[in-house]
């Protein structure tokens, strides 16, 4: 399923297919709409988001006692094996399998690097006295998989004035694989950029890949990759490195999952999908503070940054939201509500689920979050990732339509106070009744008509499976570019290949406005109006009806200016003819508007 992720169809065509599928779900047996999509051979790696543990969260924290021998000193053979033991015992039955060693395995306590005679990273004897192969063997002996880590590029410490020979590459030295000007690369400028025009360069990557394969590693996190990692420009473009890694792994004789980090550039998503099995969409989730993470820095960023990437996740490659640190309670640095929301978003966005917690010290609530089989099934099952169906306002609803006709629906309250959050069935495409199962609380809540409303704590969430018992919603489309509409200020028409009918209204800034005229509804009420829009960054618009008071909504980025997406906004309309206005309001910028769909009944 989710063939769309790898489709080369233009987005516009794709969206039409999805709409048809949604509608068909009501008319016929639900799975029929999905049948044609599930026939591809599953990829050998990352068929599902991977699950496991990573060492970095505890390494990066100032939590008392975690790093007794200086920064990042949590990373030791003993600690890795201790966590592997705990993972095997407590979490493996739920699907967690990767034990991932992060940065520093080749560094001493003062972060001084060790290299072998071929310029390859070598285990620090104090951190890993038994060596990396022995650690992988021990991890495998528990039925788990082993992960390891490298920064992208030729690390400066491996260069050795260009004299170090490359393993299994006669005549090649480190001097052959870098640029003459020794330009640096990666997120920290800690490496020389590799010049892949020299055949020796691929050999160097091959030598590293072979080493990991020989040691028995199943996973590699390649870090500091650009464009991304807060860098841009040719010097930091590591697409060739990533491609070389894919090639090297293919010949190394062992499947190795290749994960890229961090804040990968959306514009190169095609490359990341082509060459890797997953990509971190954001900066580190860790706070580098006295806990592992904090809500503001930077767990909450994912709600705003993930939506644009949603369509790119699928078997073989997933949007990586970073570690899931919800298991330890106080050390996590989050409230219970925040921990649940964190786990909810990671699950429904189909992010890899790897915790950075101390698995030996999971509290009972944390264990319940990490081991809820229904929630894990959302993440691991044959279901698409959820995306917002409402704007990026403090109260949000995310949803995904599942192959069986049900919907995964998450309510989020990102405000700092408790608030009621409603999911309107209209935003899922149907009206009438639906039965609701509460996944975190493992209970059926009964039947709800048109919507469900729940009180959520500050930063809280709910996660439901909604089974429609109603009828498909029909709506009327109004193109933004229609001649009947009124454009004011800077607003203007533009061509748009991703848009329905190929046109949109843009330049909504500095008070520019689009008013959609002649919106006809039969009865007065609040309507969930679907707004199709394009926005390369997150923008807000004031939306009002009939010249009345406006409500400001923030639209998530669609990733770039060639991709359309849609969310639903509630608009109160009167019976008969209405106007709906999108106002960039003052100095601000609003998204470009493709069209709106107004349901034929209110909610």
């Amino acid at each position: 399923m989710r063939s769309s992720s790898y489709s080369v169809l233009p987005v516009r065509g794709l969206r039409a297919v999805v709409v048809l599928a949604l509608t068909a779900g009501f008319a016929t047996a639900a799975p029929a709409a999905q049948a044609s999509a599930g026939t591809e051979a599953p990829p050998s790696l990352a068929a599902k988001p991977y699950m496991g543990w990573s060492s970095w969260s505890m390494q990066s924290s100032k939590y008392p006692g975690l790093n007794p021998d200086g920064d990042y000193s949590y990373l030791t053979e003993a600690n890795v094996l201790k966590q592997a033991d705990a993972l095997a015992k407590k979490l493996k039955p739920y699907g967690y399998e990767y034990v991932n060693i992060d940065a520093g395995w080749w560094m001493d306590w003062s972060w001084k690097q060790n290299y072998d005679e071929y310029g390859r990273q070598k285990a620090d004897p104090e951190r890993f006295p038994s060596g990396m192969k022995a650690v992988a063997d021990r991890i495998h002996s528990k039925g788990l998989k082993a992960g390891i880590y490298l920064p992208v590029g030729l690390e400066k410490g491996a260069y050795n004035d260009g004299r170090t020979p490359i393993w299994n590459a006669e005549g090649c030295t480190t001097g052959d694989i870098v640029y003459d000007d020794l330009r640096t690369t990666n997120g920290w400028d800690s490496a020389y950029k590799i010049d892949f025009s020299d055949p020796c360069a691929q050999k160097y990557i091959d030598s590293q890949a072979q080493m990991f394969a020989d040691w028995g590693y199943d996973f590699l996190k390649l870090d500091g990759v650009g464009p991304g990692s807060f860098k841009s420009g040719d010097q930091y473009n590591n697409v060739a490195d990533v491609a070389a890694w894919q090639k090297a792994i293919a010949t190394a004789g062992r499947p190795i999952h290749l994960e890229l980090s961090w804040s990968l550039d959306y514009g190169h998503v095609g490359d990341w999908k082509k060459y890797s099995n997953g990509w971190r969409i954001d900066t580190d989730v860790e706070c580098y503070c006295n806990t592992l993470v904090s809500w503001e820095n930077s767990v909450v960023d994912r709600w705003y940054d993930a939506p644009a990437w949603t369509d790119h996740a699928g078997p073989g490659g997933w949007n990586d939201l970073d570690s899931l640190d919800v298991g330890n309670g106080e050390m996590d640095g989050l409230t219970k509500a925040e921990r649940q929301s964190y786990a909810t978003l990671w699950a429904i966005a189909k992010s890899p689920l790897y915790t950075g917690d101390d698995i030996t010290k999971l509290d009972s609530y944390g264990l319940s979050l990490l081991t809820n089989r229904e929630v894990i099934a959302i993440n691991q099952g044959d279901t698409p990732p959820a995306e917002p169906v409402t704007p990026s306002d403090p109260q949000q609803v995310w949803a995904a339509k599942n192959p069986d006709g049900t919907y995964t629906v998450a309510l989020f309250n990102l405000a700092d106070s408790p608030a009621a959050v409603s999911a309107n069935w209209a935003t899922l495409g149907f009206t009438g009744k639906a039965s609701v199962r509460d996944l975190w609380n493992k209970e059926n809540l009964g039947t709800y008509t048109n919507k469900i409303t729940q009180a959520l704590p500050a930063h809280g969430s709910r996660l439901f499976t909604v089974t429609p018992r109603g009828t498909a919603l029909t709506s009327t489309a109004y193109e933004a570019e229609a001649s009947a509409n009124t454009l004011s200020g800077n607003a203007s028409l533009a061509d748009c290949s991703a848009c329905s009918d190929g046109r949109k209204v843009g330049n909504l800034y500095g008070g520019g406005k689009l008013t959609v005229n002649d919106v006809v509804v039969p009865k007065a009420g609040t309507y969930q109006v679907k707004v199709s829009y394009i926005s390369g960054d997150s923008r807000s618009a004031d939306i009002s009806a009939n010249g009345g008071g406006a409500t400001r909504h923030k639209f998530p980025s669609t990733g770039d200016w060639g991709t359309a997406n849609s969310v639903y906004v509630p608009v109160t309309l009167k019976a008969g003819t209405n106007t709906i206005t999108f106002d960039s309001s003052g100095p601000g910028y609003a998204p470009d508007i493709d069209r709106i769909d107004v349901p034929k009944s209110s909610s």
Binding site: K336, A337, Q340, D416, S417, P418, A419, A420, D438, W440, N441, E443, L445, T453, Q454, A455, L456, P457, A458, G460, S461, R462, A524, G525, T526, S544, G548, G549, A550, T551, T572
Partner: protein, 791 residues
Amino acid sequence: MNRRSPDPSRRTLLSLATTGSLAAVLGSLPAFTASAAPQRPTTSPLLAGSARSELWWQAPGDESSLIEQGLPVGNGRIGALASNDPGRELLLITDATMWTGGLNDTLDADGQFPYGRADFGSFTLLARLTVDIPDHDLSAVSGYRRTLDLSQGLVTSSYVRSGVTYSRQIYASLPDDVIVLHFTQSGGGRYTGSVTLGGTHGEKSSQAESFGASLANGLRYGAAVKAYGTGGKVAVNGTRIDFSGCKKLTVVVSGGTNYVPDAAANYRNPSLDPEQLARTKVRNAAEHSADTLLRTHVADYRALYEQLGLSLGTSTAAQRELDTWERLKARARDGVPDPELEAAYLQFGRYLMISGSRGSLPLGLQGLWLDGNDPDWMGDYHTDVNIQMNYWMADRTALSQCFDAFTDYCHAQLPSWTKLTQSLFNDPRNRYRNSTGKIAGWTVAFSTNPYGGNGWWWHPAGNAWLCNSLYEHYEYTQSREHLAKIYPLLKGACEFWEARLLTTTLPGSTEEVLIDDSDWSPEHGPQDAKGITYAQELVWALFGNFCAASAELKKDTGYADTIAGLRRKLYLPQVSPKTGWLEEWMSPDNLGETTHRHLSGLVGLFPGDRIRPDGSTPKNIVDGATAQLTARGMESFGWANAWRSLCWARLKDADKAYQLVVNNLRPSTDGSNGTAFNLFDIYEVEQGRGIFQIDANFGTPAAMIEMLLYSRPGHLELLPALPAAWAASGHVTGVAARGGFVVDLDWRDGKPASARIRSVGGRTTTVAYAGVHRTVTLEPGESVTLRDFAR
């Protein structure tokens, strides 16, 4: 229901007490004292669901934002804000007398008063109560609903956990003098958790069921809690009370201080141990079933609540479907009137008054409700509009009894106010001192506390405004006891002005007039202006009120003649030839801020009654007042909008009066001006920082009534400013009218359908609508119903 209960009400008892000796006063006046045995209703006073008038919400309050999200309860003396979170009920508990500070009688170098939390003092929290139910985390429950039942005086919440419906009720009972939390369930559920009571002033808690301590000013205070359940176990465990497996749980809390409203006793009762008294109160209450406590409270509450009946029209089904917060947002966004919401906003003000002003200190800037110990402006009594505004609605909305706390306060403070005025006002450093060199009577500063103390700057005309408010209550009620009680305040204020007024001759005239000495028109412009309109108007009204009181009580007739003579010579403001406005200063120039929040130069329009748009006031004066009011604008914040609305109602401009009410109903978000989630009024004091100020919650209802009925002794006018939004049909019953009447009014299609006029002491009055006047003559207790106003 009876609107004037024939039962021997608490108010009657209090009134009797005030006529007795000082000992009798101490024995029964506002203080934390032993309660008389509550009167228990013999029939159930509980209302069926359909008869209830409820505000409702779909989310609990945030612990750190209770001032905007907590629901208030109070019995007029003790109050609380409740979070209603399923997993952790939090109550921030207050006692109206829980004040730091003291007499504050050492002036600063500028001859004004210090204004800090230690010297002047501040209203602070009494206690903090939590009921933790760990298994009922908000994330684990569904169908959460929370209500404020205006018709029964109850805060409720309910939710479903694993198929069991859990409900809780919270209220503050005056008869039992406790706050009650009652937890029930249906479906076989159980409550397990703990109750914790503690202080907020760093007290060391050593036991679970009570605590007591003293503030730095010597005020003793204490609180106590008792919990009892059905079908489970309730036991003290160290500093908390644990409960487990309870089918039902009842928690009762009480507390108080050893404050007494008696200057001679230094405002303390040294023999009172508040902790022990609180223990006695909760023990006595806990001897009764939760049902008995509830019925007793609801009967007591309904007796006051139902003194007013109100309908402003019918809302739509779509509006009724929305919870209160959504409804406020929809009202502001859609611009469509929501008459039931608007009526509920008025009734919410009455709920706050019933909950916040009975048998203790009066309502200050935040009423009885706090979320910390550092309320802005100390949560004090501001005498240049705020405390007066708090009580403008008392008589208008049929809560005459709730006014008494204001009267009692002024009465108890008078000895201290007099002493401070006479010893400090003419301090040579005080820029507002009497240049006559004479001093007599009393006045106050802009802020007052309950210890006889003043704060911030002297406010010469504050005495007149307080007195005029107190006198107006007499005009409504015709209570001679009340008049006798406030008479010393009126007389002392007159004496102050007799000593202060300056004689001057107007330019181009030989006519001598009396004017105020150097003064400040609140709260802008020059601080050394003579003859400010604010003072001239207030003193003119004061002198008139004193003369009327003297005549009614047959006291000091000679002195009343003197005051009447002074009154005739008082300068009254002119219209500026430059601005066309009624002058706020004795100057044609606008010396202040055009859109300033205060309407100090318009006190003669409202709350004063000198400027009338009925032909009895020169047209140019009415036009000048209208022009100044217009210039002040429509976009201020809570109390300033309410005051503007009252002025526009007086000018019979229904659209503007109504728009200002609507402006106050705008939802407050991120601290913006408007109405918070819990309907408290929020004032944005700086970008993004909104604070609670209760005045608009009372001033706005007063304006709504003023739009429906204007009154002055001898004259009533029906529907003077009825807005189109309410015009279709409506009624109001129980509205007090100056002159000693109570009016029940029905209207249809914007015109009165019937008006019942009942005398509570008034004898004769004209009743006007649209230029038609009728004269009604009644004996006290009699009533007449008038019809056929519409032509």
